[in-house]
Symmetry: C2
Subunit: 145 residues, 2 copies
DNA sequence: CCTTGTTAGTTACAAATCCAACCATTACCA
DNA sequence: TGGTAATGGTTGGATTTGTAACTAACAAGG
């Protein structure tokens, strides 16, 4: 019989963070997957372009901290689906600007509403002050380093 | 030109949770990967067995909310590495009990120390009350439903 | 110019994941 | 009993991911 001990896995922050992150992503994931047939990385790209406007792939890489091969493939899929258009820069022909097509914009606007509504249901579990503190702490924990 | 808008992706809780979870897993991940050559799911199985003692694969599935094929394959790897031993139940021969070998126990104990130390560095970013609240909120967000 | 180094983005191949179908065993129940 | 359903766990094949190597374009120094 292997001994038990007192290390509390249930209190290990990375564990708690992962469980909460997974659970909180699940419901929303179903929506964009079923409704638009896109995956998480594609959703993230879509949202970055929708929320911040035209930008290059490497800007998304930096801001979202997703590996560039994932971005590259997500962009390909979004272009195939006619959600995103690419345009090569004249200044520096290595980079290309990405922006949402009208179709992509419509999808984004729809999903943004769903996301905002879902966020409200999560917020509703706590008081305003608690939510504000939670966000601040998560931001701090998410900083690189 | 695609319009910008005011949806604040940076405040979207699932997004913040994912960023924090990823960042907080990264450093510890390097340790168990480099030191013992195991992946995240294998680490989770190891920790469940170490922290709670002998149990079946499906118990881990339920408790850790990881898909059973992932568990199945992680257990295979851990058995290959001689970290885990399986023993078929006499009562119900479909299920088999899993427990750590002395080798697995040693790895667990080592990693538990690393995990605890790492947890303390995360905690150190905040006050005690804040950490307690964070844990409570994460637990709440991680509940299924 | 020419070399060397850097950056933007893609691709190839191996490893890991997901989903569905699949045994084997046990439970239910007419 | 016998037939059907449910459970524990594994396997196969398509999809995704990770890592590294790659192309193409620019930058900087001689």
């Amino acid at each position: 019989m292997v001994e038990k001990d007192d290390f509390d896995l249930q209190n290990f922050l990375p564990y708690l963070l992962n469980q909460a992150a997974e659970e909180s992503s699940l419901e929303f994931q179903q929506v964009y997957k079923n409704k638009y047939g896109i995956l998480r990385t594609e959703w993230r790209v879509l949202f970055h372009l929708g929320a911040f406007g035209e930008m290059t792939a490497s800007t998304i890489v930096t801001r979202a901290r997703i590996h560039k091969t994932k971005i590259s493939r997500a962009v390909q899929k979004l272009v195939e689906k006619r959600f995103v258009a690419r345009e090569r820069s004249e200044d520096d022909r290595r980079q290309e600007f990405l922006r949402l097509t009208p179709l992509g914009l419509a999808a984004y606007k729809d999903l943004r509403e769903v996301a905002a509504a879902y966020d409200r249901t999560l917020e509703a579990k706590f008081s305003e002050e608690e939510v504000a503190l939670l966000r601040a702490m998560l931001r701090r924990l998410g900083e690189r380093g």
